[in-house]
């Protein structure tokens, strides 16, 4: 089975691209959402508290995203530490998900940070969703209701668009000028051909 990853910098519109693929009956693993859910997993929770203290969880036992983000985005070692806790559990979850969808034509793994974590070799094809930084900035401010400075801080932890584009097999431009669906359909057709050739 072909394993495809969709990545793109914050606010690029990865999720919308994935929704279009889902309409074509392609299963999508939303890694960022799954990772967030993992913080409720007792084993993960224990490790996170061991590493960062009780404050990263609310009184009701839910992860305090603001506190965690402030730790992770201010210290590089903290980011490494959290990745070491989350990534193995996430891959475990992904592998189980793959087994469930082994009869699909291909599967998609959506993640904001892929190249930065050196996961590119795990996938057969990588689709990069590109949007100009100004547009991404506007989208995230509106979507997450956070300040421009906060968004820029998050953007600085991601690699530049041109590097990621070059490392990808397909690029989807989501600049609100180019149509998305024709680009997705073209990639879908390409992947179908590649699947046929492999068989």
């Amino acid at each position: 089975m072909i394993k495809v990853a969709i990545t793109g910098n914050i606010g690029s519109g990865k999720t919308m691209v994935c929704r279009i693929f889902e309409t074509l009956f392609i299963p999508v693993f939303y890694a960022d959402k799954e990772a967030k859910d993992l913080y409720d997993n007792p084993k993960v929770k224990e490790k996170v508290i061991m590493a960062f203290g009780d404050d990263v969880y609310n009184k009701n036992g839910k992860i305090n995203k603001a506190v965690l983000a402030s730790i992770v985005f201010s210290e590089k070692s903290a980011l490494k530490k959290i990745n070491e806790i989350i990534h193995p559990a996430l891959f475990n979850k992904y592998n189980n998900w793959l087994k469930k969808h082994q009869n699909s034509i291909y599967t998609i793994h959506e993640a904001a940070v892929l190249f930065e974590n050196h996961f590119e070799n795990y996938f057969d094809f990588i689709i990069y969703v590109y949007a100009p930084q100004k547009l991404r900035l506007e989208r995230v401010i509106k979507r997450d209701n956070i300040s421009k400075e906060e968004v820029l801080k998050r953007m600085n932890h991601q690699w530049a668009d041109d590097i990621k584009s070059k490392m990808s097999d397909f690029v989807i431009v989501n600049d609100e000028k180019s149509f998305l669906i024709p680009q997705v359909l073209k990639i879908h057709q390409n992947l179908l051909i590649k699947k046929e050739r492999n068989e």
Binding site: M16, T23, K142, E176, L180, I181
Partner: protein, 316 residues
């Protein structure tokens, strides 16, 4: 020489004083005489019964002749400017001739005029024995009042509510006119830079002053001014009525709107309905569909969508 000239000047002065005294004596004697005069008076009717209106007047000018001494006539001429004869119809006996046509006997006006002219009633005579006019019956109904407003507001303020008291007034008018009236409007209220409530007493606009009466003819208006702010909801794009079936990307959009803080707590995304505009659109030939808001609460304004159009896939 000088003594001669002074004597002649003194004679002149004495002559002039005597002449003035003689003229004054003549004037006083003449003013105490009685004179017969005729005045053309323009007739003005007033105080018709509430349900009647003057339609046509047959006699608009009445010649009044009377006898009076010169002093009274001089007073009338100089100070009282006798031009109009105001007839209060609530105080004069009106005689009905036939449907809508009435007359009043001019002899009944003699008493009124005798006071006005300061002459004896018996010394007054009129050019015609009676005055005729036509009245029209008025009908009435209660009609709502609408305020005519020309308001500007301070930034982020708007009119929340206007309360008119009384909200309805009784209008008297001929039947055909009354049937065409749906509202009575206030005079234009112009207020600038409003940032708080205002209370105003304002007159009502009569669509035809001659034939329409409004009671009361002014109302009180309270203008409630409130602060509004921009809110937004994520609302799904409703494609249930679109054939063939489609799916839009994104499947939900943000609806931005202005609203008063007071009203916001009762609102939810379900109060809005956003649909793609597929009228006269061949779905096979376009890549995007424009969106429109087909349902929204009445008390929101400045509605806008983000995005304003969506891509779509036709589902097989």
């Amino acid at each position: 020489m000088n003594v001669e000239r002074l004597k002649r000047r003194k004679d002149h002065i004495i002559f002039l004083i005597c002449l003035f005294m003689a003229a004054l004596s003549w004037l006083l004697i003449k003013l105490s005489d009685d004179y017969s005069v005729t005045y053309p008076l323009k007739i003005e009717y007033s105080d018709l019964p509430e349900n009647k209106i003057l339609k046509t007047v047959n006699d608009s000018v009445l010649n009044v002749s009377f006898k009076s001494d010169g002093y009274n006539l001089l007073d009338l001429y100089l100070y009282r400017k006798l031009r109009f004869l105001k007839i209060n119809l609530s105080k004069v006996k009106m005689v009905k001739i036939r449907d809508g046509k009435y007359e009043i006997f001019t002899r009944n006006l003699a008493k009124l005029l005798s006071r006005q002219l300061n002459v004896n009633e018996s010394d007054i005579s009129f050019s015609v024995p009676k005055l005729q006019f036509q009245v029209e019956n008025l009908y009435s109904k209660v009609i709502p009042v609408k305020a005519k407003l020309n308001l500007t507001f301070k930034s982020q303020f708007a009119l929340y509510k206007s309360i008119i008291t009384p909200s309805k007034v009784r209008v008297f008018a001929p039947k055909n006119v009354l049937d065409s009236l749906k509202y009575v409007y206030t005079k234009l209220i112009t207020l600038n830079e409003l940032g708080k409530d205002e209370k105003i007493k304002v007159g009502l606009l009569s669509p035809g002053k001659e034939i329409i009466r409004i009671k009361p003819n002014n109302v009180n208006i309270v203008l409630e001014v409130r602060k509004y702010t921009e809110f937004s909801f994520k609302v799904p794009v409703n494609v249930s009525k679109v054939k063939p079936q489609i799916r839009t990307f994104p499947s939900s959009v943000t609806v931005y709107f202005n609203m008063f803080l007071e009203d916001y707590k009762n609102l939810s995304p379900k109060d809005f309905k956003v649909v793609p505009d597929v009228k006269n659109i061949n779905l096979g030939k376009v890549n995007m569909l424009n969106l429109k808001v087909v349902k929204h609460p009445a008390n929101v304004s400045n509605i806008r969508l983000d995005p304003v159009s969506v891509e779509f896939i036709i589902l097989n």
